[in-house]
């Protein structure tokens, strides 16, 4: 009897939690706390979400609960994804909506060891994230007949620093600076930037499942607007924004430092400016979606074309 009572209590508590989730948007960035997500931290810390009349809670992913699995399980209602990731997921049958596109440029680079040009390292062992970024790198490797041996790693630069890899993929705002910080010398020769070689495909955007979105359109828009406002505030107040980022970093006990986060913030904000219009556009570009889709279909990463219309709100 007693056991039954406890079970009942737990069920009631859970149902409360479910009700609460209807009202609150839980936002899970796809990585641990860092300046990549400055706009959302600012929006939360400065009360932009509250002012927009939307209740948002930021919960970071854990090793056992990565962002995408939280979205699938409805543990969160919004997450950030790279465009290629989002397309893979949609191709896999989960319909997503891009409610805010922040990145206007591709940040991926290949950094080669021993001051070599990555394009000359045929068959090299190249590190790649185990969590599934780097679709464009694989496309490039095939197109350029480089036949890289991809080595999936968890999430740091130790293998490369220890000399176990010939080259590694890196984000220009994150691992790139970690490598610099580890004493790796960057030259024009040993860094290959995808954006400069016809692979300038947008990355981070905020996504919801289409199912959740269709029921909470107004809430989603207000969330997106407030997030955008957070980003714009960060552009105007980079130092204060960095202070906010460091609060989240410390709260989550992340092994990084202010210097790294400052460099990351500068680079992330730079990537938000469209190369052609020189503006922060906060929108998906149909041409980039089309190009990404074409590349991934060509390399059998997508079973079909994922269109711009499938990604955007309607």
């Amino acid at each position: 009897m007693k056991k039954m009572f406890i079970l009942l209590a737990v069920m009631i508590a859970m149902s409360h939690a479910v009700t609460a989730q209807d009202e609150t948007i839980v936002f899970t960035p796809q990585w641990t706390a860092q300046a990549q997500f400055t706009g959302y931290y600012v929006a939360e810390a400065m009360g932009f979400y509250r002012e927009a009349g939307v209740d948002v809670r930021i919960e970071h992913p854990s090793p056992t609960q990565p962002a995408m699995s939280r979205l699938r399980n409805n543990q969160c209602q919004a997450t950030t994804l790279q465009l290629c990731q989002a397309m893979e997921i949609i191709d896999g049958g989960i319909l997503l909506v891009n409610i805010l596109q922040t990145s206007m440029n591709n940040a991926m680079v290949i950094v080669s060891a021993r001051d070599q040009d990555p394009l000359t390292q045929k068959g090299a062992r190249v590190g790649i994230w185990s969590v599934g970024f780097g679709q464009l790198a694989i496309c490039m490797s095939i197109k350029e007949h480089l036949d890289y041996e991809w080595v999936r790693f968890a999430h740091n630069v130790n293998l490369f620093v220890a000399g176990a890899l010939d080259a590694t993929l890196a984000m220009s705002y994150n691992e790139y600076y970690q490598l610099v910080q580890a004493g790796i010398k960057m030259t024009d020769k040993n860094v290959y930037r995808f954006c400069d070689h016809g692979y300038n495909v947008q990355e981070d955007g905020v996504y919801m499942t289409r199912e959740y979105y269709s029921e909470h359109k107004d809430q989603a828009r207000r969330f997106a607007e407030a997030s955008k406002r957070g980003w714009e505030w960060a552009v105007e107040h980079p130092d204060e924004a960095l202070d906010i980022v460091m609060k989240y970093v410390d709260m989550n006990n992340i092994a990084t430092n202010r210097v790294m986060q400052q460099l990351m913030l500068q680079e992330v904000l730079r990537l938000q400016v469209d190369r052609e219009s020189k503006q922060r556009e906060f929108r998906l570009r149909p041409d980039m979606v089309q190009e990404a889709s074409r590349l991934m279909v060509e390399n059998k990463m997508l079973s079909r074309e994922v269109t711009y219309e499938e990604l955007i709100e309607n």
């Binding site: 790693f153 130790n158 293998l159 220890a162 600076y177 910080q181 580890a182 004493g183 092994a255 430092n257």
Partner: protein
């Protein structure tokens, strides 16, 4: 500051003491500097060896533990590879590793995905201490895909056993994490294919504690970094795992820190001197075994040299105090020793103020000060004596100077002061200047008119000053005396020479130029006795040719030669002494004849060669040349311009008579007619008739030897201002004008014959002039006409 410097300059004792103390200080500083430098080197070496020992010890301790891990791992690998088909045995191996080695943190024997098909994708036998017990579980899952972990990938990719970079090992069950480093090596099947990895981890807490505890100096600290430069041990715990040794250099480039980072990453061992956190520090570094980590001890220099610095400061303090005391005592001692000198100085001041009889202090000393005092006393006595003599001499000198001033006035008074100009005369104008080098000088010039002749001279007595001036006075008065009754310059100079030479005991001499210019004709007779040849400035510029006669005063018998020249109207005769050509400037250069010629030429070009203009220009040129230099010699210049205006045009008639007394009435008629023509009254006509008759009769009597026939031509000419009679004969030379004037106070019997005739002529006419020209005697008698005539 200036007051201090002034005080030091005033005080000998302070100055000497300062010099001694400063010299001593320099010696001390040099000696101590060398000593301190060597001592510092020794301390530095000591610190290095101490730190090196500590590093070696720590490294050895780390090595011994690492060795145990490696041996244990190798043994487990041996077992695993012999039972690669028995999945569950792996739990036993993994567990026994920790059972046998309680200080190991955990152990995994992990396999490639699906290696044991029955176990699925993940199979990792994972053993870990949980409290006092040991727990063994299957470690892999979707949320922990171990084959992407560094510890799994590193040995696989490197294909050799290796130590991982330290990392946080998260225990999901207890949500605790511990920083560990793992020794990993691959497991291979019989075919040599890699099938899994054995991972043996060691908590580095103990290592951190061991390294943190290394503290050879109070403010020293230790750090440990991994391969990527990440701090794993650092006194600032916020940096641990969050920052690398390069992080700060990204913000503020620091080449020393960057170099240290690279050196430690490369696993080098050494010591570097650097500036860290505002302090000069020594960094000693050494790799930690095979972990890829490197440790460093950072020792602030101030710590290493603390006791050395204290010693150094103490010694410096003692030296400084010692030097100050030394300065103080030196000043006191020197002041004491110099005290007599100060008293002497005071007394000397009294003497200097004029009290020559002031009494000097009597020091009973035999040293330098005593000698000085003694010498000073002697000097005082000499000074008193000398002052007395000086007073006398000064008084004498004042008298002499006064005399000289008077002499100068007298001498200048001897010289003519009024110079005839065009306004005064229509035949000649003249100007002269004399500037003595001293109060009195030896130059002279003189001129005067007699009849229709200008007598002039210029001279320069050898030597200067009073003797020369006296000689000059004699010369000048001799000239006046002699020329009064001699018309020919050679005669004048010859007589002067004889007179002067006779009374010249001191062998002085005078260069002299004497000229007689016949004004109606412009004939110049002259005699140059060793003087500079005059310049003629007229149609051109040229020197007047001069015979080489000796100066006056040497040889009484010398016969001086006469020379003659025609001076044309408008020509200026420029005479000067060698004070002009030899005027010297500050560089001892002389004015020289070239410059005299230049000035003369310029004056001629500008038609400014009238006497006064010429001499003023010459004076200006000399002053400009000489500048501020002292005048070296007397400077005398005289210029005579001949400006005769021959305008006897109103009346001209002549008559020629034989030398016969009978012709006198005819002469009188001629004269009377001439006088009437110019409108003279009867008295003047009578006077003229008497004078002309006297002159003609003189000629008739004396010019021709008795019985010899000869003609006498009488010309009468007049202009607006005068009437002129010229009596010309070809008889023997006879100059009636040199007959001395008659002393009319004597009776007729006492007078010399003929003397009365010339007297009558002079009385009745305004001027009489005699010239010997072309072997003829030419006597000219002139009478001025009143305006009414």
């Amino acid at each position: 500051m200036n007051r201090i410097i002034a005080y030091i300059r005033r005080k000998l004792s302070v100055r000497v003491s300062l010099r001694v103390v400063v010299s001593a200080a320099i010696l001390f500083v040099a000696a101590l500097g060398i000593m301190f430098y060597q001592a510092r080197e020794a301390v530095s070496q000591e610190a290095i060896s101490r730190a090196t020992q500590i590093l070696d010890k720590t490294s050895l301790r780390v090595d011994s533990i690492l060795n145990r891990v490696e041996v244990a791992s190798d043994m487990t690998k041996w077992l695993v590879e012999r039972h690669t088909n028995q999945a569950d045995s792996m739990f036993v191996y993994s567990r026994s590793m920790l059972e046998n080695n309680p200080d190991f943190y955990n152990c995994s024997v992990a396999f490639e995905p699906y290696y044991f098909e029955e176990k699925g994708r993940y199979f990792s036998a994972y053993t870990k201490h949980v409290g006092d017990s040991i727990r063994t579980i299957q470690g892999g899952s979707d949320s922990y895909q171990y084959f992407f972990a560094d510890w799994y990938l590193m040995p696989k990719l490197l294909d050799r056993p290796c130590w991982t970079e330290p990392y946080f090992d998260l225990d999901v069950a207890t949500n605790t994490s511990e920083m560990v480093t793992s020794y990993c090596q691959t497991v291979k099947d019989r075919q040599g294919r890699m099938i899994g990895v054995i991972n043996t981890s060691l908590s580095i807490n103990w290592l951190s504690k061991t390294i943190s505890a290394v503290k050879p100096y109070p403010h020293s600290y230790s750090i440990m970094i991994g391969r990527g430069g990440t701090y794993f041990v650092h006194p600032d715990t916020t940096k641990i795992t969050r920052q690398t040794i390069f992080t700060q250099t990204l913000e503020q480039p620091d080449t020393a820190m960057t170099a240290l980072g690279y050196a430690m990453q490369r696993g080098e061992e050494g010591v570097k001197q650097m500036y860290i956190n505002g302090k000069d520090s020594y960094v000693f570094y050494k790799p930690l075994g095979r972990t890829g980590c490197s440790m460093a001890i950072v020792c602030p220099e101030s710590d290493i040299f603390r006791s050395f610095d204290r010693l150094q400061n103490t010694i410096m303090g003692i030296v400084a105090v010692g030097l100050l005391l030394m300065l103080y005592f030196f000043i006191r001692i020197i002041t004491f020793e110099l005290d007599p000198l100060r008293r002497l100085a005071t007394e000397a001041e009294t003497i200097a103020s004029g009290q020559f009889d002031a009494e000097l202090p009597d020091f009973q000393r035999v040293d330098e000060i005593g000698q000085l005092s003694h010498s000073f006393g002697n000097m005082q006595q000499s000074l008193v004596k000398y002052i007395d003599e000086l007073k006398k001499t000064t008084a004498q000198k004042a008298t002499i100077e006064s005399d000289l001033r008077i002499a100068s006035k007298i001498q200048l008074g001897m010289l003519p002061e009024k110079f005839p100009t065009r306004a005064d005369r229509d035949d000649v104008q003249l100007f002269a200047s004399l500037t003595p080098a001293k109060e009195v000088g030896g130059d002279l010039f003189d001129f005067y008119f007699r009849d229709e002749k200008l007598f002039f001279c210029i001279g320069d007595v050898s030597g200067k000053g009073v003797p020369a001036s006296l000689f000059m006075a004699v010369t000048r008065s001799t000239f006046r005396t002699v020329s009064a009754h001699e018309s020919m310059p050679d005669r004048i100079v010859t007589i002067m020479n004889k007179t002067i030479a006779d009374m010249n005991k001191n062998h002085m001499f005078v260069t002299l130029f004497v000229g007689v210019l016949d004004l109606p004709t412009g004939r110049l007779h002259y005699c140059n006795a060793g003087h500079d040849a005059p310049l003629l400035i007229g149609a051109g510029i040229g020197e007047l040719p001069c015979d080489s006669n000796i100066p006056v005063g040497f040889m009484p018998q010398w016969k001086f030669s006469l020379q003659e020249a025609q001076i044309f109207i408008g020509t200026t005769i420029f005479l000067f002494t060698d004070g002009l050509t030899e005027a010297m400037n500050a560089n001892k250069a002389q004015f020289q004849m070239e410059r005299v010629n230049e000035v003369a030429a310029r004056a001629l070009d500008n038609q400014q060669h009238e006497p006064r203009q010429l001499i003023e220009q010459m004076t200006d040129a000399v002053h400009q040349f000489v500048g501020d230099a002292e005048q070296s010699d007397d400077l005398t210049m005289m210029a005579i311009q001949y400006i005769w205006q021959n305008n006897d045009a109103r009346m001209r008639k002549s008559i020629t008579l034989p030398n016969d007394i009978q012709e006198v009435p005819q002469l009188n008629a001629f004269v009377e007619e001439a006088c009437q023509t110019v409108g003279l009254d009867e008295i003047d006509t009578m006077k003229i008739k008497v004078a002309v008759e006297e002159a003609v009769v003189n000629v008739m009597k004396y010019a021709y030897p008795s019985g010899e026939r000869g003609d006498i031509t009488i010309e009468a000419a007049s202009n607006d201002v005068r009437l002129k009679f010229t009596i010309i004969d070809s008889g023997k030379p006879f100059d009636p004008t040199v007959q001395s004037a008659v002393d009319t106070s004597l009776s007729a019997q006492e007078r010399k014959i003929g003397g009365l005739g010339i007297h009558i002529m002079r009385q009745n006419m305004d001027s009489i002039n005699y010239e010997r020209s072309d072997n003829r005697n030419v006597l000219t008698l002139r009478k001025k006409l009143n305006k009414k005539n």
